[in-house]
Structure formats: structure tokens, C-alpha cells
């Protein structure tokens, strides 16, 4: 694929870092592999509030990105839902070209989740991974102090944790890379802090293969 868009939907403040870690690590890996790549947050979502839906974007291409200044990913090939209940309520599938991938952090199976997906006929695969369990179910609580600062809507500027993907982002990144191959596993793996969750996820993905039709 010469041009790929990855859109991550996450929850404002409490899971902001997780979303950022996914797009930043994928984009940095693509650049290491010699591609043109960009990671950014949705500028309009960004003065976020706790739990509100926010989007993070990554774009990569073999040629220079001419749409570098465009606010939003208009045609995401890959969509990640950092929190399972986000599967309902809004159209995260909007603009996805046929053959896309949807990755959800959930303990449910793809068989169960697909009924909530708007426009599933565009998918070539639905991937479910129990990221919260694989990472550490206490991930939210040990970050409370930091989240308090993030509540000031600092857009991550007050983040103390310099590690990339110390928690539930790790299995989600593993799911994206294993099922889409947008960057090489050996490029991204060294960046990931939670190696255990990353490795476990590679073995515990629930993948439903689908036959996409044009929207």
C-alpha cells in the first residue's frame, strides 16, 4: 500500500496517552523504514474532557505527504478503538475504503462485536484483543496523579511518563502491526515499553476475516 491512514478513537484524558502512543510509534517506525509519515491529534477534539471521544491520526506514504495540513484522516484504512464501548454511538467507519481493518480493545469476540459496527461490509478483518487484561488491569489507577494534570487539558504536555506504550497501547499496537503489516515488527518492537503485553497480544488476537465489498 503506498498511502495508508490509521485513525485511533480513544477516550479524552483518561486514555489520551494510549491513543497518542499508538499513532506516534507507528509513525516513527514508518519514518525509520524510509517512508513519509505523520502523527497528530485531532485538533478540534483536542481540548478534551474526561471520557469524551477523541481521535489520533497517523498517515504514511511512499511519497511526500501533500495533505500534511489536513485536519482529519478522511479515508482511514485502519481504525482502532482504544475502549470497547466506543463500538457503538458514532461512525468511526466513515470514509473507510473497502478492505479496511478494525481493531477493538474488548474481551468479547469478533462474532459478538460485529453487530455493532456501522458499515462492516467494508472490512477485510475485524480484530479483537483484550488489551486491558493483557497490559495490566490496574493501568488506570497508577496513573491517577498524572491524569489529574491532564485534566487541565494540557494535551499531554504535563505527561511525566516518557515511556511509549507502557500499558494498553502495547497490545493494540501488536494487533495493528500483526494484522496489517504497515510497519515491520522488528522496527516497532524496540519502542514498546510493555514488552510482555505486546508479546502476549501477538498470540491472543481474535481475528475475523471478511470479504469486503465496495461501500
Amino acid at each position: 500500500m503506498s498511502y495508508t491512514e490509521l485513525t485511533v478513537w480513544t477516550r479524552g484524558i483518561i486514555m489520551d496517552k494510549e491513543g497518542r502512543d499508538i499513532v506516534n510509534s507507528v509513525s516513527a517506525s514508518a519514518r525509520l523504514e524510509g517512508k513519509y509519515a505523520q502523527a497528530m491529534e485531532n485538533y478540534v477534539d483536542n481540548p478534551d474532557r474526561t471520557n469524551c471521544p477523541t481521535r489520533k491520526y497517523c498517515r504514511m506514504s511512499d511519497s511526500i505527504l501533500e495533505n500534511e495540513l489536513t485536519y482529519e484522516n478522511e479515508h482511514p484504512n485502519i481504525v482502532v478503538l482504544v475502549e470497547g464501548t466506543m463500538v457503538k454511538g458514532w461512525d468511526y467507519m466513515r470514509g473507510m475504503p473497502p478492505g479496511g481493518t478494525l481493531v477493538i480493545n474488548t474481551h468479547y469476540t469478533p462474532d459478538y462485536m460485529i453487530r455493532f459496527v456501522p458499515g462492516p461490509e467494508r472490512l477485510s478483518q475485524l480484530v479483537c484483543v483484550d488489551a486491558a487484561k493483557l497490559a495490566d488491569h490496574k493501568w488506570l489507577y497508577y496513573r491517577l496523579g498524572e491524569l489529574g494534570l491532564d485534566r487541565l487539558s494540557t494535551e499531554g504536555a504535563a505527561e511525566r511518563n516518557k515511556l511509549i506504550a507502557p500499558d494498553i497501547a502495547a497490545p493494540l499496537i501488536a494487533a495493528v502491526i500483526k494484522t496489517t503489516g504497515i510497519v515491520k515488527m522488528e522496527t516497532i518492537e524496540p519502542m514498546i515499553a510493555n514488552k510482555h503485553a505486546f508479546e502476549m497480544a501477538l498470540k491472543e488476537l481474535h481475528i475475523m476475516k471478511l470479504s469486503p465489498v465496495a461501500a
Binding site: Q38, A39, M40, E41, Y43, V44, N46, P47, I64, E66, N67, E68, L69, T70, Y71, T154, E155, A157, A158
Partner: protein, 402 residues
């Protein structure tokens, strides 16, 4: 307050906000006056972290409003400190009262502006109206189009403003989101290079109890005109210094900027875009694609709007048949009923022997990205004017017309 020493040249990937903060660190600022407003906030966040980590030894003052921010800056600069402040959108407006006193007392305060649309109704996107509405207040002003240029412009502006022949404040502007939030590769210099380029700030008449002087006393009407004339002359006289400083910057850092305008594919161009700031990035891609199809289109980007390079604009634009001014600002009820750049362009061209036809495009309003097909659309409008030789409609709102 020495801090940014022994830093080695390195490439980093940062956005415009962080680039501005890095520049302030390299400039070794003494006083920072902060008050948050999107999108420039991240600059102050980054500086707060630098101060907290001990990377930068500066007084970091959190003001209670933008008005106070600029008041603090005024006072600190009067006492001889190198001052850094900033704002966006309505924040820029709230500090308006201070712009004239600061330039009037010839204090080289530096203000970073990441543009944001003014209300209504509270949009985060970039429009240049916030800074442009202060353009005649005696501040040196210009836009950068990416993070590297933002970094460079901050250092350049300090050097110009603090030159004893100039002593004027500077607004170093960048588009909100398009520069402030888009990451790019930025070369951070050796601290030695900055030391060579930017000497420590020394105001000739700082407030100092050992050497009492008066700043800003009440004056009689007849004392006003000489002060105003002096400030006007300082602005005019800064032009030579601006050219000198850019040349020296190129020598030391290896990045050569024309201080006034950047031309792109204009050699044989017949129609050109005229704009400021980040939309030049997309404009260049659009122009390349149109060039591939044989269209004679180019770009002229204004880098410094105050002082305004009248001669350079005239000399450059009089070569073309049609000029399309991309405003990205609101000039309600202005000459073109569009933005304010149109009048600046036309006034510069008035005394030219050959004048191009000039159109005003209201594009990128509310901080919308100007996409490739909009540049193609605007080019079609310019070509139609070139063909017919007359302007039937002067101002076009891009996206609202066929």
C-alpha cells in the same frame, strides 16, 4: 542568567509550539510571561518544563490575563530583561492596550503568536486576523510556514528588535495547527552558533535605581509628534537592519531566507498566489501539479508584513498578469470587502508602471485547510481574469461559489 550553553547541533521532530519554546531557550530569555490559550499554550508548557528541569534559568510568571502578560513584559523589558511572551486569538486582542506603549517606549519584547480565529463563536482554527489587527502598533511582524522557520524567526526577531538602531517589539507569528501542531524536522543549533548570532540583550536606558531614568511619563501635546516621528523612523530604519540580520543568520546557520518575500516557480509565471504562512506548503504542491500540466502559475509568500516591503512587493508582483491574494484574515468592510492583505498589495502596486490585476480570495477561513483542488479552483478564476483582461468579481469566498 546563562543556561543554554554547550548544546550540540541536532535534528529533532517537534511542532511549531515547541520550536518557539526551544528558540526562547536558545535565546536564553530572562523573563517569561504566560497565560494559557489554545493553540499557543504548548509553547508555555514546554518552557515551564524547561524551567522546572533546570534547562532554562528564567523568571516564569503566570499572569492573570493577557493584559497582565503584556504589562509584565513591558516592565521586565524596561528593567533590561530579555522577555518572551505569547498568545492566540482573543488573547491577542485582550492585550491590545499594551501594544502601543511597548513599541512607544521602544521595548524589544518578543511575543509568539499562534493564530486563532476571533470569536464568534469560538473556533480553534487559524486565521491571521488576531495578529493582523495589531499590525500598525509598531511591532515588527511576520509569519513562518513551518516549525524550522518558526524557530529561526524567533532568533532573528530578537536580534533585529534588540539592535540599538531599532529597539522595537516583535510579533513572531505562526499559523495555529498548521504550524503550531504539525510536527516537522527541526535543526536545533549549536549553542555556540546562537552565542555568535545573538549577543546578550543590553537596553541603553534600563530602569535601574543606581541610574534613575523616567520611562513613559505624562507628556504635553507638543511632545507627542516628535515621539511618534521617532517611532515611525525606527520602524522605517529597521528595514536595513532586517536585511543585515537575515544575511548574517544565513552565514552562521546555513539557512538563507529572503527577509521580505519568498518566490516559488515565478520565473515565467503569469498568475501567482500571494499569501502569508503555512498554506504555502500546500500551495507549492498544487503549483507543481499545475506546472506539470503546463500552467504558468507561481507563488509569492510574504515573510515580513511590518515593516511592509513596499518596493519589493511592487517589484515582484508587477512582473505578473494576475495576482490572487489569499487572505486568511477578515477585513470586514475593507477595500475589497474581503481581507486586509488586498489593500496592502494594491497600494504597493499603485505606482508601478505595469500593474497586474488583483483578486482577493477568502480561503482558509476558520482555520480550514486550503486543499489542492481549492488552489486549482482559484487558479481557474485567475486565468479567466487573465483571458478577459478585466475583473468582474474582486473578492471570492472559496468554497461558496461554483
Amino acid at each position: 542568567m546563562a543556561t543554554a550553553t554547550a548544546l550540540k547541533k541536532k535534528m529533532v521532530r517537534i511542532n511549531g509550539c515547541v520550536a518557539a519554546a526551544q528558540a526562547a531557550k536558545y535565546a536564553d530569555v530572562d523573563v517569561i510571561a504566560a497565560y494559557p490559550i489554545r493553540p499557543y499554550t504548548a509553547t508555555m508548557m514546554a518552557l515551564a518544563q524547561m524551567v522546572a528541569n533546570g534547562e532554562l534559568d528564567a523568571e516564569y510568571i503566570v499572569a492573570d490575563s493577557e493584559h497582565s502578560q503584556l504589562s509584565i513584559s513591558h516592565g521586565a523589558s524596561s528593567s533590561g530583561a530579555r522577555v518572551f511572551t505569547g498568545s492566540s486569538g482573543v488573547g491577542v486582542q485582550f492585550a491590545y492596550e499594551l501594544y502601543s506603549p511597548i513599541s512607544g517606549s521602544r521595548m524589544p519584547v518578543q511575543m509568539m503568536i499562534a493564530d486563532r480565529t476571533l470569536d464568534p463563536p469560538g473556533d480553534f482554527g487559524s486565521e491571521h486576523t488576531d495578529a493582523l489587527s495589531t499590525r500598525d502598533m509598531g511591532w515588527i511582524m511576520g509569519w513562518s510556514c513551518d516549525a524550522q522557520e518558526a524557530f529561526d524567526n524567533h532568533l532573528i526577531a530578537y536580534r533585529i528588535g534588540e539592535d540599538p538602531r531599532v529597539l522595537l517589539p516583535q510579533m513572531v507569528c505562526q499559523d495555529g495547527f498548521f504550524v503550531s501542531h504539525i510536527t516537522g524536522d527541526v535543526e536545533l543549533p549549536d549553542s555556540g552558533q546562537v552565542k555568535e548570532f545573538l549577543p546578550p540583550y543590553k537596553h541603553p536606558y534600563p530602569l535601574d535605581p543606581r541610574h534613575p531614568v523616567s520611562h513613559g511619563p505624562q507628556i504635553m501635546p507638543e511632545q507627542g509628534p516628535p515621539l511618534q516621528l521617532e517611532r515611525a523612523r525606527a520602524m522605517e530604519g529597521s528595514m536595513a537592519v532586517i536585511e543585515e540580520v537575515h544575511e548574517e543568520f544565513g552565514k552562521i546557520f546555513g539557512r538563507h531566507y529572503d527577509p521580505w518575500i519568498e518566490e516559488f516557480m515565478t520565473e515565467d509565471a503569469e498568475v501567482v498566489f500571494f499569501l502569508q504562512g503555512a498554506h504555502a506548503v500546500t500551495a507549492k504542491f498544487a503549483i507543481q501539479h499545475m506546472r506539470d500540466k503546463g500552467l504558468k502559475v507561481g507563488l509569492v509568500r510574504l515573510r515580513t508584513i511590518r515593516p511592509y516591503p513596499t518596493e519589493r512587493v511592487r517589484e515582484s508582483l508587477s512582473k505578473f498578469k494576475v495576482v490572487g491574494v489569499i487572505e486568511t484574515n477578515m477585513g470586514l468592510g475593507s477595500v475589497s470587502s474581503g481581507g486586509v492583505l488586498y489593500a496592502e498589495v494594491c497600494a504597493a502596486l499603485y505606482e508601478a508602471d505595469k500593474r497586474p490585476l488583483v483578486l482577493s480570495f477568502m480561503a482558509g477561513m476558520g482555520g480550514e485547510a486550503i486543499v489542492l483542488k481549492e488552489f486549482y479552483w482559484m487558479t481557474e478564476k485567475m486565468q479567466a481574469v487573465q483571458k478577459s483582461g478585466k475583473i468582474e468579481k474582486r473578492t471570492h469566498w472559496v468554497g461558496f461559489e461554483e
